[in-house]
Amino acid sequence: MSSIAWTPFWLSFKLAFVTTAVLFVLALPLAWWLAQTRTRLKPFLEALVSLPIVLPPSVLGFYLLWAFAPDSPLGAFLKERLGLELVFSFPGLVVASVIYSFPFMLQPLQSGFESLNRHMLEAAYVAGKTGWQTLLFVALPNIKPALLSALIVTFAHTVGEFGVVLMVGGSIPGETKVASVAIYEYVEIMDYKNAHIYSAIMVGISFAVLTAVYLFNRHHRRRLGGA
């Protein structure tokens, strides 16, 4: 057995962390808006934002690859205007993961916002707070269970995902070869011993991270004397 390469794990958790952070920033305003809007288009929009997960990950990855490729209009635009190359690069993984995991972040936040006590939000408006202030300082802290669930599912799912990531990222060591891809490859070449070791490490770290988050949350809730 060769010694364990830690880079894939580092990459996995970096990817999961960045994806979760980016998704949070993107999904938050949309979830807030969807929870409050009265537009007739709402059911269609809601269905639309759930779609990224009905395609098999590698097929979605295939379409993303196609869209991001330097010879596609989008890819060309990104490359020329922003200097961004999204295929076979870490930023590309982030973008792909963000697209794929979007519903996992959006849905819990939206349903959390939808079940908030409306008078509490109104109290913030009456106190002169803008929509943004109300969102950040009143709505968000009051949907903590939903927020936690959104963050954790997104994080865990990004750690585990490999279909999209493998397609768009191409398993480049140190750049896009995340742990899930590494494990997949060990299974593919039937190096089961390493597959077991890497899987165990992956599950172990994830368990530790998740437990830490839940413990912190519990502790924090206690300290504040919350419900």
């Binding site: 295939f62 076979f88 191409g170 299974v187």
Partner: protein, 219 residues
């Protein structure tokens, strides 16, 4: 192609002795996925496929620098870890004791196509068809053969992987009669000039010796 990944390890070691400064990275994956990536600008120098179809398609799309060449010929093997009375005769598969037979997906994997052909030419395809279960790749087919199927038609090269070396020819596995299927020509196509050295090395006697040790036939 995933099936060459075992041989490739040895190939790189040998190549390194020749050129110690070289830094070769291997990316394992199904041929279809890799082909799609190459089409969209994957930074790969060299593509080793399990058949000629993918390399040729890439070459026709002006992605290959030269016409693809066959670096090795794959061999089909019949493996059974439970049912140990095998003969070169595929008719063993008709036995009642064999309830499930793992083959690679004939649509996506060259070894699957070869397996189907072999069964057809042995005139037992229609009879064993209900027993067939399809793996999506060499390794998946092997996993099926090892765990849940009573027999499997797999890539011989995989049986030389560290994990499977303990299985012996004639005992757990036999070669399938090569006349029953058309040759599995595994093609390589050069994508970038940087891969030229290793590409040439593939066809050197040293490399061909390694391929042979992994159960491949000379092209």
């Amino acid at each position: 192609a995933a099936n060459v990944s075992y041989a490739v390890k040895d190939l790189i070691q040998t190549y390194r002795q020749k050129d110690p400064k070289s830094d070769i990275r291997v990316i394992v994956g199904s041929s279809g996925k890799l082909a799609a990536q190459i089409r969209h600008g994957a930074p790969y120098d060299l593509f080793l496929s399990a058949d000629m179809g993918y390399p040729l398609a890439l070459y026709h799309d002006k992605l290959g620098l030269e016409k693809p060449k066959t670096y090795a010929k794959g061999v089909l093997a019949l493996l059974s870890v439970r049912h140990k009375k095998l003969s070169n005769n595929l008719h063993t598969l008709l036995s009642f004791a064999i309830k499930k037979i793992a083959v690679a997906n004939p649509k996506t994997a060259p070894y699957g196509k070869a397996a189907r052909e072999a069964l057809q030419n042995a005139k037992i395809y229609e009879r064993v068809k209900p027993k067939l279960i399809y793996g999506e790749s060499v390794s998946q087919t092997l996993v099926y053969t090892l765990r849940v199927a009573d027999a499997g038609l797999v890539a011989k090269s995989a049986l030389f992987s560290p994990k499977l070396r303990r299985f012996r020819e004639g005992k757990e596995w036999v070669e399938v009669d090569s006349r029953l299927y058309s040759p599995i020509e595994q093609g390589a196509v050069l994508l970038k000039p940087e891969g030229k050295d290793f590409y040439d090395f593939l066809f050197s006697p040293a490399a061909q010796h390694i391929f042979k040790a992994y159960g491949y036939r000379q092209p």
